[in-house]
Amino acid sequence: MSKKINRPVILDYGSGNIRSVVKAFENVNGGRVLSTNNPSELASASHIILPGVGAFADCKIGLLAFSGLVNGLIEQVIEKRKPFLGICVGMQVMATLGREHGETHGFDWIQGQIVKIKPDDIDLKIPHMGWNELVFHETIHPVLSGLDAASHAYFAHSYCFETIDPKHVLASVEYGGLITAIVGRDNLIGTQFHPEKSQRVGLQFIENFLNWDGT
């Protein structure tokens, strides 16, 4: 458990399993977690979390619906370089472009696009739903600390992140080919899986994220 005082702020834009995410952060952080759609709350955040269940376009529209939220996010995450975690669709909106229900521009924080999963085995089901084993490409990142090679995480998605730069992919999963599981650069991190629903592995990941200063 972290000794320093963290003030994680979870963005609630009206969709998604918000309570599950808040609960997992409370479990790790000892109860001091704020969920909000108010951009003024971002200034006091130590860590910013964008959860996501839903469609890419809905996530983007949901964020834009709250005046100043996107600008506040850019100010805190890109200018002030606060540690940022995007979960599932919250990770996908970091991309340049989403191709779910038409084309939608993302934040372009990590270059690449969000495309439908096309497994090379036609018997594989879509959505990719359930526990899959993480394949780490990068093992020295602080948020991956203590996660062993056989770690399983919970996935539930039909679209995946194809990055331009392979170095931005920290971990993948095998599902008829490799699918991006964790992306990151600088103070940004994103998971296709749901750490809030990945039991011990997920809580460890969240604890690591909260212990990370973004460098």
Partner: protein, 252 residues
């Protein structure tokens, strides 16, 4: 590699876990909050919480019980019972659900499934199908099995997947509570008909039944209630047995 999911199911009536045979003659099987805690610690891959009398009694899902139950879980929780509109889904998500199952609400208004999957994403929307053999086909029943619809189960499953359901929770009403194994013919017919994952439900009595649901029924996940609630088998015993049968499961 993606693992086959083992899903304990809490059928909840008036805040208590119950279990019946062929959807009737309910007996008490404990407190959902305590059960959820046990299953989470045991490494269940998901939890299913069904408020089984919500539709038949025409009332809302009991949000406080859902909330207390979900509070114990760091695995995905799917909640069903009385889900009729996007407001119901938002309320359940706020109570701690990760996915919702829609059954009667889909039959009364199929477009609701489209609306729900567009708003919350397909991965959040599970369509539950309760099917029973009738003549030479499988027919859908609603209201906890009390009302027949005339709908063919395979056609309906395809339509629901087309409408954006991310998963099908398939229960054989003929098998439910009988401990005689899944209806493999039904499970395979639906699993092979849709691109989305199918959760097999209804009839598990032995460890071999769990294996059969996946190996012969092509299910992506297996759901059971009474064998877990009454302590016949633990989650770990199921996983060990499935692993020995060559089915990939997540070790805890």
């Amino acid at each position: 590699m993606l693992k086959v999911r083992i899903i304990p199911c809490l059928d909840v009536d008036k805040g208590r876990v119950v279990k019946g045979v062929n959807f009737v003659d309910l007996i008490d099987a404990g407190d959902p909050v305590e059960q959820a805690k046990i299953y989470d610690l045991a490494g269940a891959d998901e939890l299913c919480f069904l408020d089984i009398t919500a539709s038949s009694e025409g009332r809302e899902t009991i949000f406080d019980v859902v909330s207390q139950t979900a509070e114990q879980c760091f695995m995905p929780v799917t909640v069903g019972g009385g889900v009729r509109g996007v407001d119901d889904i938002r309320k359940l998500l706020l109570a701690g659900a990760d996915k919702v199952t829609i059954n009667t609400g889909a039959i009364q208004n199929p477009n609701f499934v489209q609306e729900a999957s567009l708003k919350f994403g397909s991965q959040c929307i599970v369509v539950a199908i309760d099917a029973k053999r009738k003549d030479d086909r499988f027919e859908i029943f609603t209201h906890g099995g009390r009302i027949e619809t005339g709908l063919d189960a395979i056609d309906w499953a395809r339509r629901m997947a087309d409408y954006g359901a991310g998963e099908i929770l398939l229960t054989s009403m003929d098998k439910d509570g009988t401990k005689s194994g899944f209806d493999i013919e039904l499970t395979k017919a639906i699993a092979d008909a849709v691109v989305v994952p199918v959760i097999a439900s209804g009839g598990v009595g032995t460890l071999d039944h769990m294996v059969e649901g996946v190996r012969d029924g092509n299910a992506s996940a297996v759901l059971a209630a009474s064998i877990f609630h009454f302590g016949n088998y633990s989650i770990q015993e199921v996983k060990t047995h499935m692993d020995a049968a060559g089915i990939a499961v997540r070790s805890v």
